[in-house]
Structure formats: structure tokens, C-alpha cells
């Protein structure tokens, strides 16, 4: 014990004196090996003496390591080799004293080392043996039971029972220890040339348990304390025992030894994820070995039936990919699982508590994800409020925003993207006027890197009385944000802005085909025209009919009629009464769903939020009519936001996706593409688009029964040709 403690103190002292001991690096060893190889080459060459320098160099380096206690096993091997070669060179040079020193150092490092008799001169071998004989004795230890670890002066030697091992002669403190038995220590003396045989009868102090499990990798806890995990493959000799307990030997673990079990009553628990835990009582009457009966754990899994809207989302359970929705996942580990469905259109995240053998059906509604980029301040007074504003904004946003996922952006990713453009975040925000292309590029990159669809960021201006801040919402790829001015201390001002995030702008609306006008001449809206082929056309409505009621309510103006149609509901039939020359008539008008243009002037909508919703439809339902109309509307919104490049891109794609037909259609997209081109300065290309659009007889803008593209395009062409 005293020696063991001294050894420890010495190691600590060396460590304190020399600084933290670092083992040789692979590179160091490789370099030394190369030096050794060089030395060996020189050794085998005509100028053998020159190799001494190499070997000395290696010995000097590695001895220093050894003295510091940081010589690795590989380093020891290298040092031994260096000593051997040095000794041989010295011997060959006739310097036997020095050779002897080298051999002695070698033997001290590795007493069991022998020279290669096949390649080395017998004289050298004999000399080596003579040196060794004066240094090395033999030690053999047996113990009952076997399998005890034997150490000399704290350095592990072998496991009992072992045959005589070569040990440098001297006095040692021998330790023998085995789990469950009282360790013993004995001073011993090894005499050169003699064999010391030792026998130990170890005294049992605690019990040891042995357990097999199916499956493997089961965590074992004794009285709540982890004692290890089963592993490996079952020893065939134990297969019958396992099978007798209902285990499948092929799936069972090897025996796990659980040492140091005190006598008495214990609880043993078996745990493995996706399996039902098992807790048993364990009685240990006396210190001996115990075979705990093999344990079979039952799977604890459930089924998750996942769909996503839009479909095609990548499913992740606790971060691991599980395929594409829709999918039924059987054998999902029971417990609280984080279910995530990722889609180009957004994300769905939910923690699901899955019970064993239960089935959970989950309809994942993909929502766009909004990344919070933080708050920037324009000056020192703003910076003082930065932290408070940041906390407040994040808190209110995360609790208020329901229509989108809200996440904090990874700062490192954001900084990297900005650094690449040599920008600060504030450079992208109003009231500055950054290059729109730059803003679009940066936000597109960030969106791709963070896998989000939009961003929220705030800016505190430098004010005398610091009260307000501007909160900006950017859709990915957007150029101009939606901005709200908030009062920093007023939660309600934040909430009002976020409430607008919930507003949706549908792509279609119930449609009758009636175009009416309010006049002071009629008691209700009078039909001005009826869209050909529309429900109203089929119901024989005509110009001059005066609508007096719709949906069971009196109608005095067009706004009333439109509201009644919009409110028609899923049944999509509406009762309309009109006065005509032939008298009043009432019709149950079956409405159709018609595409519409979303106007940026619609009350309460946020253009960037709508862009995110539209992109969700585009990404989620590619190739569908909805996606085509979503793209058309995206272009319309971007046009109104003066993002002409983005708008043009959307219109050209919409043009390719939409059919040529009456109403909002290909011609609509073509016309708007011309508008965008004009703004971008491509007059000739704009003329081409207008010319094409002017040949489309049925296309409209604004609504299914809106103004005709043909007329508008022709006038535009006339104006452009007049201007040129």
C-alpha cells in the first residue's frame, strides 16, 4: 500500500513538475520510426558506427518521455529496439561496457525481451544472455480462485494462474486482486536466475452475479445504480440454460459479471430503450457467485401512422430519418417521441407520447417555419434595451404565432451567411435601401441553410425617448418586409402584428359569374353582365336583373351579394331572388370554386406571410392547378411589392403551368409577365408578352370575371408604341 501510494505520488510529482504529460503523438512516433529505419539502414551498411547517432537520438527523446511517465507502449517498443541496435553497434565496435549498459536498460524496460537468434550474431546473443542472466529472475503466481490480477509495484503483470514470467531482480510490492475477494499485498524479492512461486487463497468478501439477457445491450441497475450493460454473443455452453428460460440463444447476450454485490436484499432492474423495463428483487445471502436467471425483455413499441399535408414530407423520429409520408411506422419505441416531418414547404413538429402496442394516427399539417434573427439597435440607447426587447419579442412571438413554426435561428449559421457577403444584419433592414438582389440572395441562402421559410427581425432606432421599435417579417427570397411599429413596453402592440400572421388568403372562392353594379336607380345591385358558362349564365340571369335577396337575406348593394356568396359554405348553393321584366324569380344557384387574385390591398393581410403560404402550396403540390394559381398569385404579390425580378420569375413559371382558358389563366400570367418586364426595363420582351396576351380572347385579370387581358394588353401595346 505504501509503495502503491508512493508510486502514485511520484507520478503526480512528475506530472506537476513537467506540466501535463502528453503521450507521443502518432506523428512523433512515425518520425522516430523513420529515424530508427535510417539507423537500421546505416547499421546494415558499411559505416555502421554512424547509426549510433540515430539510435542515441531516439533513446534521448524517448527516455525523456519515460522519465515523465508518458512513454506509451508503442514508444516503449521503439525504445527497446533503439537500445538493442545501439547495444549491437557498441558491441560490434568493441565497446562491450557500453553495450552492456544498453542491454541493461533494454532489459529493465522489457525483461522478457529476447534477441532474434536467426539474424543476430551468436556472440551478441550470448553476451545479451549473460547480461540478462544477471538481471532477471522468474515469478509465477497461482490463486484460488484463478483470474486474479497481479501487479508489481502498481504495474500490472498478469492474471493468475500464470507461468513463470521474467522479472527484473529486485524487491517489489506484489498486489493481487479479484472482484468479490479481498485484495492482498505481499513484499517479494526476485533473485536473478531464480524462480519465485507464490500461491494465494483469496478470501471472498462479496457476491458476484452473472446474468444473460435477451436482447443484448440491456442496462443493469442494482438498487438504482448502473452496473453495466450486457453485450456480446451467448457462449454456446449456456444456450440450453437460456432456451430453458424462453430466450432465443441467437439473440441473447453473453454473461455479464456484476461484481461486488453486498449480502442482503437488492433490486435489480433491466432497461433497454424500446423494451419494457423489468424490476426484480435480488437476494444475496452470502458472498459467492450467483447466476441470475436469464432475462427476456419484451419489446415496448407502438405504431405511428403518419400522413402529411402536403404529402411527401420526410419523417424524422427523434432526429432519425424514417422515410416519407404517408407512412405507417411499426415498432416505434414507446415513450415520448419527437415527431418531425420536414418538407420544402415547411415543417411539422410534435412530441407524441406513444404507448406500448398502441397505434397513433398523426396528420402532420406542414406549416412554414419562421426563424427569429434577433434584434439590432441603431445606437447606444437602443443597445441598452436590446436584451429586454429580444426576450420580449421571442416570448410573445412563440406564444402568439400559431400559423407557423417559430424557431430561434442558429446564430453561427446566420453570422456565416452575413460574413460571406460582408454584411451586418442591420444592412438588410429598412429604413436603409439595400440592393434588392442582395437582400433576396442573402435571405434565400439563409432559408436554405436554416431550412426555414421566413424570418422575423427587429430594429430599435436611436431615439431621444426610447419607446418604439420596428419589427420586420421577411419571406425567404423576399426583398421588402412587412413592418410593424411596436411600443417596446406594450405587449399588445406586438400581439396585434402577430395576429395578422394567422390570416389566410384563399386561392379560390365561391363564384357565381354575376357581375353587378350599384346604382341609385335600383333597389338592389343590378346585373351588368353574366360570365359565359358560369352558374349564373346557366341559370339564365341577364343584364338588368335586379338582385333583391341572396342566401335568404335582403341585398341592397353588391357588397351584400358578394358577402352572401362568400358565406355560402360547403354546400355551395345559394338562393338568389331577382326582379326582372318578367317578374321576380328565385333560383337555387349552384356555385363553383373559382380561382382568384389575392390583392395586397385586402384588409389585414401581410404580403410576406401570404408569400410563405403561396410557396407552401407551390412546394407542396407541384404540378397541381392550385400550385399554378398559387404561383400566379405569388407573382401578383411580388409585383405589388415591387420585386419585379421575383414576380417575373413566378409569372413565367405560372404561364407554363396554366392552361389557356377563360378567366385567370395562361394569358393572365403572360400579361403580368409583361408588366414585370417593363419595370425591369426589358421593353421589347414586354411587348412580346403583351402581344401574346392580346391574342388570348378569354383571359382576365383580378378575378375569374374581371377585365379582359386582351383589351388591357392592346392598350398597353398602343401606349408603348406611341412612346417609342
Amino acid at each position: 500500500m505504501r509503495r502503491r501510494f508512493l508510486g502514485l505520488a511520484l507520478a503526480l510529482a512528475c506530472g506537476l513538475a513537467a506540466g501535463p504529460a502528453a503521450a507521443q503523438s502518432d506523428a512523433d512516433l512515425a518520425a522516430l520510426r523513420a529515424t530508427l529505419d535510417q539507423g537500421v539502414t546505416e547499421f546494415e551498411g558499411p559505416q555502421q558506427g554512424q547509426s549510433l547517432v540515430r539510435f542515441d537520438e531516439i533513446i534521448t527523446r524517448l527516455e525523456a518521455e519515460r522519465r515523465q511517465g508518458s512513454l506509451s507502449e508503442a514508444g516503449t517498443t521503439l525504445l527497446v529496439a533503439a537500445y538493442e541496435y545501439r547495444a549491437r553497434v557498441q558491441f560490434n565496435l568493441g565497446n562491450t561496457d557500453r553495450a552492456g549498459d544498453s542491454f541493461r536498460n533494454l532489459i529493465t524496460l522489457r525483461p522478457s525481451h529476447n534477441l532474434d537468434q536467426a539474424t543476430i550474431s551468436p556472440k551478441v546473443i550470448d553476451y545479451y544472455k549473460s547480461v540478462k542472466a544477471q538481471m532477471v529472475g522468474y515469478l509465477t503466481v497461482q490463486s484460488v480462485p484463478q483470474g486474479a490480477r497481479v501487479s508489481l509495484n502498481g504495474k500490472e503483470l498478469s492474471i493468475t494462474d500464470f507461468f513463470p514470467l521474467e522479472v527484473v531482480a529486485g524487491d517489489y510490492s506484489l498486489d493481487i486482486a479479484r472482484s468479490g475477494y479481498r485484495p492482498e499485498n505481499r513484499p517479494v524479492s526476485v533473485i536473478a536466475g531464480e524462480t519465485l512461486s507464490l500461491q494465494f487463497d483469496l478470501v471472498r468478501t462479496s457476491a458476484t452475479g452473472y446474468v444473460i439477457t435477451e436482447p443484448t445491450d440491456v442496462e443493469i441497475l442494482i438498487d438504482g445504480v448502473r452496473r453495466g450493460s450486457t453485450s456480446g454473443v451467448l457462449d454456446p455452453a449456456l444456450a440450453a440454460i437460456a432456451a430453458a428460460r424462453g430466450l432465443d440463444p441467437a439473440k441473447s447476450s453473453n454473461r455479464l459479471e456484476i461484481p461486488d454485490l453486498p449480502s442482503g436484499s437488492h433490486t435489480i432492474e433491466f432497461r433497454r430503450p424500446c423494451y419494457e423495463s423489468l424490476k426484480l428483487g435480488l437476494e444475496v445471502p452470502e458472498p459467492q457467485d450467483y447466476d441470475i436467471p436469464p432475462i427476456k425483455l419484451e419489446p415496448s413499441v407502438g405504431t405511428l401512422a403518419l400522413t402529411s399535408d402536403p404529402p411527401g414530407g420526410q419523417i424524422f423520429i427523434d432526429g432519425e430519418s424514417q422515410g416519407v409520408a404517408p407512412k405507417t411506422l411499426r415498432s416505434v419505441c414507446a415513450g415520448v417521441r419527437r415527431v418531425e416531418v420536414r418538407h420544402a414547404a415547411g415543417r411539422f413538429v410534435q412530441d407524441v407520447d406513444l404507448k406500448s402496442r398502441a397505434t397513433v394516427e398523426l396528420a402532420a399539417q406542414i406549416r412554414p417555419t419562421l426563424a427569429y434573427l434577433g434584434v439590432v439597435a441603431d445606437g447606444p440607447s437602443g443597445e441598452r434595451s436590446l436584451a429586454a426587447m429580444d426576450t420580449r419579442l421571442a416570448r410573445i412571438a412563440s406564444s402568439s404565432i400559431r400559423a407557423m413554426n417559430f424557431v430561434k435561428a442558429d446564430r453561427a449559421v446566420v453570422d456565416k451567411a452575413l460574413l460571406a457577403e460582408r454584411l451586418k444584419l442591420v444592412d438588410l433592414l429598412p429604413p436603409g435601401k439595400p440592393d434588392p438582389a442582395l437582400v433576396r440572395r442573402v435571405f434565400e441562402k439563409l432559408a436554405a441553410a436554416l431550412e426555414v421559410q421566413g424570418f422575423l427581425v427587429a430594429r430599435i432606432p436611436e431615439e431621444q425617448l426610447l419607446r418604439s421599435a420596428a419589427v420586420h417579417l421577411f419571406a425567404a427570397g423576399s426583398v421588402f418586409p412587412d413592418t410593424a411599429s411596436v411600443v417596446i413596453e406594450d405587449d399588445a402592440s406586438f400581439s396585434r402584428f402577430f395576429a395578422a400572421f394567422e390570416k389566410k388568403a384563399p386561392l379560390t372562392a365561391p363564384w357565381s359569374g354575376l357581375v353587378t353594379v350599384d346604382t341609385l336607380l335600383h333597389e338592389g345591385p343590378v346585373v351588368l353582365r353574366v360570365a359565359p358558362g358560369s352558374p349564373a349564365d346557366k341559370a339564365a340571369f341577364a343584364r338588368g336583373h335586379v338582385i333583391t335577396s341572396a342566401g335568404g337575406r335582403a341585398v341592397t348593394k353588391t357588397e351584400d351579394l358578394l358577402a352572401a356568396i362568400a358565406a355560402a359554405g360547403p354546400a355551395k348553393k345559394i338562393s338568389i331572388t331577382a326582379n326582372s321584366e318578367g317578374g321576380p324569380k328565385t333560383v337555387e344557384l349552384p356555385l363553383t370554386e373559382a380561382p382568384r387574385e389575392i390583392s395586397i390591398a385586402e384588409s389585414g393581410i401581410l404580403a410576406n406571410k401570404i408569400c410563405m403560404d403561396l410557396r407552401q402550396t407551390i412546394e407542396g403540390y407541384p404540378g397541381s392547378d392550385n400550385a399554378a394559381f398559387a404561383r400566379l398569385n405569388l407573382g401578383v404579390i411580388l409585383l405589388a411589392l415591387r420585386d419585379y425580378a421575383g414576380a417575373h420569375d413566378a409569372f413565367i413559371k405560372a404561364k407554363n403551368e396554366l392552361k389557356a382558358q377563360p378567366g385567370l389563366s395562361r394569358g393572365t400570367a403572360g400579361f403580368y409577365a409583361g408588366v414585370a418586364l417593363e419595370h425591369l426595363g426589358y421593353a421589347k420582351e414586354a411587348v412580346d408578352e403583351y402581344t401574346q396576351a392580346s391574342q388570348d380572347p378569354g383571359a382576365t385579370i383580378l378575378s375569374q370575371d374581371g377585365p379582359r387581358v386582351q383589351d388591357i394588353a392592346r392598350r398597353r401595346l398602343a401606349a408603348l408604341s406611341g412612346a417609342r
Binding site: 353594379v517 336607380l521 351588368l528 358578394l562 419595370h679 377585365p707 383589351d711 398597353r716
Partner: protein, 497 residues
């Protein structure tokens, strides 16, 4: 409003190169200028115009390089224009902005205002082109400016006045589509509809008026759109225009309704009745409640100026609005001697601001700039003109008693249209009055035959009232296109809606 960074940098660079002593405006000076601007605006808003203007002038002269100098000039220009009504001075100020601060946010505003000033009095193509050029500068040179939708709408108005309806429609449509959130969006929508109507695309015009009401129900143009749609529907919504007597209409006005010589309805919906019995022109509000009156000996005619003021011609003088009575004189045969115009038969104000006065004694229409005689109009031919009206396009409509015709002349004296006493589908015997509606349709009241309605091109659209009015004497059209006809026999006003 800030200078663009680019220009500011350039300006600073130039200043440094030229004179090492002149530097960028230090932050404190910029602060001073900003405070002066705030003070100036506050003073003007609170009626302390002199102090306010002084403050603004101080910015211009003392802090010419500050980012607020252009704002100060813009405010000064607007004051000159809107309060002092000194358009020349206003134009000079705006010109300063355009020349000295071409990159500032105010520069497009200055061009816009210059264009609007030019347009206000533009009576000929050259003047309108001048206005248009300023608007086009805003659109082309400052495409990101918030004044672009204003410039588009103004361009549409210019085109419309010049009869270039397709261009007007196109410009208004651009404003509607490209700037749906602009404060000018309701006006752009209205202008679009109006231009369509003037182009003869009446059904689409009605639809666009309705669209304006649906999109911008709370805007002032919503009511105007309702009136316009009503008027258009009455004229074009059915197979034929339909004017039906309104049995519910009744104006109780006592003596005012005796010996009525003329009627007119202002853009605000105020009805003016000129009565020789009361020797005055009396107003009635939208609820037909009696209001102000303007006295005159021997009242002759009432018309509405392009600015919306009532022009009340009496035998000896013309009154414009609530004040502004003018008597006129023309050079006599003796050099340097003026003779009074003392038998005025009618008067109207042109878009240029000139007044046309019908001289029944000399049987000519005289043109005056202010009260100074300018020329006979349109030529030296004799004419007994008993009614003068100005169209939205700035044309003068004349009712001639001598040959019982209607003549329409543009500002340059070119005859645009001559109607009557007979034509395809009509013949009138004794035309007593003429007026126009918002779409330049002509309404000719014949003493015995009711009212004849003609399009701006002179095509007969319909006739009405022959059986309802025994002796027509005067006619006016209200905001919704309904016709009020004074029946001299029954001394009542009959409304046709």
C-alpha cells in the same frame, strides 16, 4: 427625406476637393435644420404663416446642404400654391428643388407639383405636353419614388383631357395594378373608370366604378363612383337611355322658382337657381335646404368653372364663387377708351382661367384675362350666345339664339362640333338652355319639345320630358346624371332620374 447616400458622398467629395474649409454638414447643424423644419411646419399649421415660412427659408439659405433643405422648399412651394394661390411663385420654388436637389426625395414631388400646376391651366396641347413631361420625369427618373402613382394618375388625367383615352386608360390601369396600396389607389381606380367612359367603353367603365366601390368603400371616390355608375347606367345600361320623371322630387322654394333664368349644380351637389324674381342666385344643399344667395340685377346664366366654382352671369357683371364680381369693358373705336360690356348674356371660365363673356349688344363672345379684354372668341362672326358652358376637356359650349344651334369650340378657337337646329333624328324649334354631364354628353332643353341628349360626338342618344314639361326654361344635371328641368309654365322643377 434624405439625400441618396451616393449623391451625398459625391457632393461631399466635390466640396472637399473645391474648398478644404467647407465640410459635410455636422450632426448638430443637421439637428438644427430638422428642428427648424418641425417648427416651421408647426407654425404654418397653427396659422403663424410668416414665422413658419421664415423658418423654412432659414433652412434653405442657412443649411442648403442639409437633408431637410429640399423638404423646406417643397413646403414653401405647396404653401405658395395652395394658400397664396401664387402658381408662378410655387413653380419657381419647385424648379429650385429640381435643379438644386435632383437626387433628393423631394425632387420627384417637385416635378409632380410643376406638372399639376401646368395641368391646372393647360388649355392647349403644348401646355398639356408640358404637364405630361413633368409627370413622365417622375415615372422614368424616379421609378422607386412614392410619387410615381400620383404621376400616373395625373398623366391619365392629362391624356383624358387631351382626348387620348387609350393612353389615359393605360396610365390609370398601371397605377391601379402596380400600386394597389398607394393612398392614390382609389383615385387611380376612379380615373380608370372615367377614362373608359370617355373612351366610350361604357359597360367596362361601369364595372370599374363598381370595382372601386368594392375595393375602397370608405374612400371619398366611392360615392363619386356610385353617382358616375348611376349616370352611365341610365345612359347605357338599357337598350336606350332612360330618363323617367321622378314623382318624389319636390323643391319648395317660393319666389325663387319664379322667372328662373338658369340652374347649375356644383361638384359638391349644391344646386344653384338664378331667379329674376328674387334678383339672385340661390343655393340649395344636397338635402334641398336653402343656403347662400348671390344678388344680381337681371340674372342671366349659371355655369360651373373647371375649378368647381359657380359662375353667375348677370347683365352687367359676372360673379365667380362667393366673391369676385367682375365688370368688363372692351376697347372702343376711340383709342384708349373702353366701353363697358353692359348686356352680358352668359359667361363661363375656361381651363386656362380666361373668362368667356357673351356680349349680346355686340353679338360677340369676348375673351378676358382677368378683367382685361384679350380677344373675340372664337372669331369675329356675330353670335347671340345665351348660354356658355365649359366641358371637362376645356372646350366651350355655346347656345346660339340667332341660329338656334349649339357650337363646341376648343380653346384655340377650332370648331369641334356644331349641332342643330336639325340633324339626324331630331329638330328643335326653340332651344333655351344647354348643359353637359360628367362625360361631356350634351343636354339641350327646347322650350316645347323637352330635352335632347347628345353624345360628345354629337350623336342623338335620346329625348325626354316633352310630355312632362310644358315650357322648358333651364336645365341642370346632378351628380348622378339626373336632369332637373325648370318648367316656366308651372314654375316648378321637374326631375328626371
Amino acid at each position: 427625406m434624405k439625400w441618396s447616400r451616393q449623391v451625398l458622398g459625391a457632393a461631399v467629395g466635390l466640396v472637399v476637393a473645391a474648398s478644404p474649409l467647407r465640410a459635410q454638414v455636422p450632426p448638430r447643424a443637421d439637428d438644427q435644420a430638422r428642428r427648424l423644419l418641425e417648427d416651421g411646419r408647426t407654425d404654418i399649421a397653427n396659422g403663424r404663416a410668416r414665422q413658419g415660412l421664415d423658418a423654412l427659408q432659414t433652412i434653405v439659405t442657412g443649411f442648403p446642404n442639409s437633408p431637410h433643405a429640399d423638404d423646406a422648399l417643397l413646403d414653401m412651394g405647396r404653401y405658395a400654391e395652395e394658400v397664396e394661390k401664387n402658381l408662378t411663385k410655387a413653380r419657381e420654388v419647385y424648379d429650385q428643388i429640381a435643379k438644386r436637389y435632383p437626387q433628393s426625395d423631394s425632387a420627384p414631388g417637385a416635378y409632380l407639383q410643376m406638372g399639376l400646376i401646368a395641368f391646372k391651366t393647360a388649355a392647349n396641347q403644348a401646355a398639356m405636353d408640358d404637364a405630361l413631361a413633368n409627370f413622365q420625369r417622375v415615372i422614368r427618373l424616379y421609378p422607386e419614388s412614392r410619387f410615381v402613382p400620383h404621376a400616373l394618375v395625373a398623366s391619365a388625367a392629362v391624356f383624358r383631357r387631351g382626348g387620348r383615352y387609350d393612353s389615359a386608360i393605360d396610365a390609370a390601369r398601371r397605377a391601379v395594378l402596380d400600386y394597389p396600396r398607394s393612398e392614390l389607389a382609389p383615385d387611380a381606380q376612379f380615373e380608370l373608370a372615367l377614362s373608359l367612359a370617355m373612351a366610350g367603353d361604357t359597360l367596362n367603365a361601369i364595372e370599374e366604378f363598381q370595382r372601386g366601390r368594392s375595393l375602397y368603400p370608405a374612400s371619398p371616390s366611392a360615392l363619386r363612383a356610385l353617382n358616375a355608375a348611376t349616370a352611365l347606367y341610365r345612359l347605357y345600361g338599357n337598350e336606350r337611355p332612360l330618363f323617367l320623371k321622378d314623382p318624389a322630387f319636390s323643391l319648395q322654394a317660393g319666389e325663387v322658382l319664379k322667372d328662373v333664368r338658369s340652374m347649375a349644380i356644383s361638384p359638391e351637389g349644391v344646386t344653384w337657381i338664378a331667379s329674376n324674381k328674387t334678383k339672385s342666385a340661390v343655393s340649395f344643399d344636397l338635402g334641398l335646404k336653402i343656403g347662400a344667395s348671390l344678388p344680381a340685377e337681371d340674372p342671366q346664366t349659371l355655369s360651373i368653372s373647371p375649378g368647381g366654382e359657380v359662375v353667375f352671369a348677370s347683365k352687367l357683371a359676372v360673379r365667380t364663387g362667393a366673391s369676385g364680381v367682375m365688370a368688363f369693358a372692351v376697347p372702343s373705336e376711340k383709342p384708349g377708351v373702353l366701353e363697358p360690356v353692359d348686356r352680358i348674356g352668359a359667361a363661363t371660365i375656361m381651363v386656362s382661367g380666361d373668362m368667356l363673356v357673351s356680349d349680346l349688344k355686340r353679338k360677340r363672345v369676348l375673351r378676358f384675362k382677368g378683367d382685361t379684354f384679350a380677344a373675340v372668341f372664337p372669331d369675329r362672326s356675330e353670335r347671340e350666345v345665351v348660354k356658355l358652358v365649359t366641358t371637362p376637356r376645356g372646350e366651350a359650349v355655346m347656345l346660339r339664339k340667332d341660329d338656334k344651334s349649339i357650337e363646341v369650340w376648343d380653346d384655340s378657337g377650332r370648331l369641334v362640333l356644331k349641332l342643330g337646329p336639325r340633324g339626324p333624328g331630331f329638330e328643335w324649334k326653340k332651344p333655351v338652355d344647354v348643359t353637359i354631364d360628367a362625360f361631356s354628353n350634351l343636354y339641350v332643353a327646347d322650350e316645347d319639345q323637352g330635352v335632347f341628349v347628345f353624345s360628345a360626338k354629337g350623336e342623338l342618344m335620346t329625348t325626354f320630358g316633352a310630355s312632362d314639361v310644358r315650357k322648358s326654361r333651364a336645365i341642370a344635371i346632378d351628380l348622378a346624371g339626373a336632369a332637373l328641368v325648370y318648367d316656366d309654365r308651372t314654375e316648378t322643377i321637374v326631375r328626371f332620374r
